[in-house]
Symmetry: C2
Subunit: 386 residues, 2 copies
């Protein structure tokens, strides 16, 4: 890595929408105010043309890069954001918010409902990817930015980037979707359903009102994370990392506890997740993905996407990893096929990586090079549609 | 299907081992008595040479074929066992026991411990595939049979058949292993570990002593079954069966409940499973598989297997299904490669089926033909080793 990366960064807070002009969600429900936690890295140029918007995945947050005081504890995408890195902060103004429904400072089901003074719980309105984008756009407007050099994200983040460009193609010059999907498989939905059931069936879930005590559904959330985590790693990466190694060595007696290293690792993943993530957010954000299906929208106008930005159109890149079995290459190929069939400029690149879905978080040179190249084009000074 | 299958059948019960001569398990623990529930179909011939032994998988039981009074409710492998069927009861004497550790009438962790008068719970000794085979052999001896025309089973059943022939090659003329494995992948272990955790972390599990009340860990067992069930179906079979269909139709509102048909189906699978299966058996029988690794045994003597039965050797057939992602074709290929490397007679056949691991329960003509052909050889009148 050429640079040492970003230094100390701060999470900021924006309050968007108000009772007179609430966020109108896709379901028709309204929400106000909406607080958004976000970070920015780099400097916005004079004509506001160098903004790159990072959309995070299921368990991400606003803290994508740099550190909050301890240089050893860095943001979740620190390896790709910084001076000289693919999201080059010497060149771009990078914006990274926590998404609506999350639990990292942005309004979500664990926030206080101003009407009741109590946490929303399951009374928080159901969310779609379009609602995430609506909040992203409101944040962008508040920052005085009208268009993006790029929107980028992995998994659920790629879904947000895609939806944004489909609905507002004049606002987004390029989209980089990494191991994203435009439509979950039935198996994807099934795995998420079981993970959610682990939460909602935990007696400590208490119908979603656990934030008022006495206990949170930690067992259920941990179980959900362990189920999910198996889908983030490939079979090969699990074999490489853990094989059949046992904590007590080969001669240790068989027990019903976590004898195998992989069991111990999953236990750890579950335990650490419950310390940083909220069970209600897990429910809401996985449900978003089950319903994501932008190409089924009868109002989708791909010709408009292809001709946007004064005829340049949006430039779409879908990157996938060959061992990803959550949203494998067929998902990316499907996105690109649908875009291309509508005349949009889209291409797919498959990267070889043993690490499965989680590859999007790793510093893999061919992958980072693809991202760097995708963002390398000139920032456009011309206003959208001009 | 040529025949109407078997009619009324009865489950029988054998009591094996006693305090003076207990079952000595692989761990060194002893168990006595051991009750075995079993069924037989067809007639044993005069020289006891036409026995086919069926080893069931994780959630099976002794009731493999025929019915217990309601002809509409038939055994779990009824489509393959019966007059004129691949396990032809006009020709073979088919034996089907519930396995040790199960909950279908054979001794297991939910049985009463004669020393305490209470259910064993987690005090039941841990089991290996060798222990399952030891009980099968004791049942066979009690039936007065000294050798098998064939041992056959799917998944965990295939593991039992394999282990039997490796340890006692003079007793088993042929082995048919269907979607079995000789060594789980790390991902296999991880999925089973999470399913077990769903059970043991259910507050109603009560450290395994739930049989004394007040509640059984039904949520946990149901969740384990739902996790497992996703691995029994292929991605393609889930898509074909359920796609993205929603219970309320396309216009139904998004909710956090089981909107999608696949979610409803998994709920049903979980609910029906807890009515017929025991959570402790689920723990014990999945743990057996995690540790199964017969080719790692330093005492394994494949030359003996190859030369057994007076030089004929054991005939091994491994059948797999191309869409099985629990124990896919690579598992069967591995078994056959290991056997063949040791000089044993072994071959692998991959069957095309969209239905994943559960294909072994289905009436698929090419698969049934392979089984029929494998059993077609003459029954051997000569005593083992002669």
């Amino acid at each position: 890595m050429a640079s040492d990366g970003l230094g100390l960064v701060q999470t900021q807070r924006a309050v968007l929408f108000d009772e007179d002009s609430p966020l109108v969600m896709h379901s028709g429900a309204t929400l106000a105010p909406v607080t958004v936690a976000y970070e920015t890295y780099g400097e916005l140029d004079a004509d506001g043309s160098n903004a790159v918007f990072v959309c995070h995945a299921l368990s991400g947050d606003a803290h994508a890069a740099g550190h909050h005081g301890d240089p050893a504890r860095r943001g979740w995408w620190d390896n790709i954001i910084g001076p000289g890195r693919p999201l080059d902060t010497d060149r771009f103004f990078v914006i990274s918010p926590n998404i609506l429904g999350g639990c990292g400072g942005t309004s979500g089901p664990s926030s206080i409902d101003p009407r009741s003074g109590l946490p929303y719980g399951l009374r928080f309105p159901l969310i779609t990817v379009r609602d995430l984008v609506a909040v992203h756009r409101a944040l962008l407007a508040q920052l005085g930015i009208s268009r993006l050099h790029a929107a980028i994200g992995g998994s659920l983040g790629g879904m947000q980037s895609l939806q944004w460009a489909l609905d507002y193609p004049d606002e987004v010059a390029r989209v980089v979707m990494i191991c994203a999907s435009a439509r979950l498989t039935t198996q994807n939905i099934a795995l998420s359903a079981v993970a959610r059931a682990a939460i909602t069936e935990d007696p400590d879930f208490q119908g979603g009102d656990y934030l008022q005590g006495p206990r949170r559904p930690e067992r259920g959330l941990s179980l959900a994370r362990r189920i999910g985590h198996i889908t983030y790693l490939s079979e090969e990466s699990m074999r490489r990392k853990f094989g059949h190694a046992r904590r007590g060595g080969d001669g240790a007696p068989m027990t019903m506890s976590s004898d195998f290293e992989v069991e111990h690792y999953l236990d750890y993943q579950g335990e650490s997740f419950v310390k940083r993530f909220d069970a209600l957010s897990y429910l809401y954000l996985t449900r978003i993905m089950d319903y994501f299906d932008p190409f089924a929208d009868p109002d989708l106008d791909l010709a408009r996407v292809a001709k946007a930005r004064g005829g340049d159109g949006v430039d779409f890149l879908a990157i996938s990893f060959d061992t990803d079995w959550r949203f494998g290459s067929e998902h990316s190929r499907n996105i690109v096929a649908r875009l291309a069939a509508g005349g949009a400029r889209a291409r797919h690149e498959e990267v070889t990586s043993p690490w499965g879905h989680d590859s999007f978080l790793l510093e893999l040179e061919p992958y980072h090079q693809l991202v760097a190249d995708a963002l390398a084009g000139p920032v456009s000074a011309k206003p959208p549609g001009a």
